[in-house]
Amino acid sequence: MGSQAKWTGPEVPSRLALEAVDNRIVALTEYLTVYRAGAGSPGRARHQRIRELRHDIARLRAWSHYLRGAARRPLWWRALRRLGIWFGGERHARPGRRRPRGAGVRRLSAFSVVDRALAAQLEDYQGRLLTLGLARGPLADDLLATRQRLQGCVDRLQQERRLLAADAGRVAVICWVLSRVVRVRGWLGLGEPRTGVLDP
């Protein structure tokens, strides 16, 4: 059983973190659609890639549910949080892939899946900053304000990634439990749990 250390993870998730996870779900779902239509290397590797994409999407959906639940803290959310503290408290970030899965395709850890979502969103903001940096001449006030806002988003997402890295084990536990709950609800025809909408 893990430590009872104070959870430094998302008590109230930022809009940026939720946006990052939701955007990543959309992107991976589009890749999945394209792979299903036959893109990528043929044969077993493609099927493995499809399976891994589905798995990653399920874990991101689970994390998205968890983040949304943090706004209202219902009973299931508090129980899940407690489980995360008990069973995942001592595991820290080990980014990258783990467990070889046959020919080449390896499974990402839950932490890496969520971290990549944050990294993708972070790079999206950094891409905007680069585009803005190409503007010729002195920046107008509104462009300066935009740059400041984008830099603020970058800083916030970097902070979110640091917090997440300290809670890698808890992310794993929560994604594992919640993705299975969602799957069972799907089998029972209950659909996905309602979590409410997080205010911006």
Partner: protein, 191 residues
């Protein structure tokens, strides 16, 4: 364009994440280097402001494989549409002058030479895929099937298609086009 000191050269198409990795995770250095390369014109953002870059070799346009890779890395939902899909499936005898692609997301612009991007509503890719409207590939990019390409061009009316006399009627089933149009009709409200 020089690779970061002590590192292997970057591929012709790379992301900000690739650059950070080359620089051992130093985000600030990666941003500064990317900014310098962009200012000097050695690289371009594929679709500003997205953090995917393509290396340019002077006035020489990138080859088709590189263009496709750049599009695939920038837009998960990119699909070859219209006359570009028809010509590459041998249904059209008239070749496209530009590679016409569609993406189901907002696009501010695309700086790739020889490529035209068309916006499609959310859910378009899913609807097309469900109808079996994706067939074959151009490098990494999926192509619309001939029937779906015609139905899509008719519905959105924003993409180049060859004249009717340049199409091979034996390879284009009218009932297939009608079925594809019926599938896309669900998206009509979003157009």
């Amino acid at each position: 364009m020089n690779a970061p000191p002590g590192h292997a050269p970057l591929p012709p198409v790379f992301t900000l994440a690739d650059l950070k990795q080359q620089l051992n995770g130093d985000e600030q250095a990666a941003m500064e280097l990317a900014g310098r390369w962009l200012e000097s014109g050695q690289v371009r953002q594929v679709a500003p402001p997205r953090p995917v870059f393509i290396r340019l070799n002077g006035a020489e346009p990138p080859d088709e494989a590189q263009l496709c890779l750049a599009l695939a890395r920038t837009f998960p939902s990119v699909v070859v549409v219209g006359g570009s899909a028809l010509w590459r499936q041998g249904v059209s005898r008239q070749r496209d002058a530009l590679l016409h692609c569609a993406v189901a997301e907002s696009v501010d612009g695309c700086s790739l030479p020889g490529v035209r991007l068309h916006r499609r509503p959310a859910g378009w890719l899913e609807a097309v895929s469900r109808a079996g409207g994706l067939r074959g590939h151009l490098h990494q990019l999926p192509l619309l099937s001939a029937e779906m390409a015609v139905a899509d061009a008719a519905l959105f009316a924003d993409v180049w298609v060859p004249d009717r006399e340049h199409l091979d009627p034996d390879r284009l089933a009218a009932e297939g086009v009608a079925a594809a149009q019926a599938q896309l009709a669900t998206l009509r409200d979003d157009v």
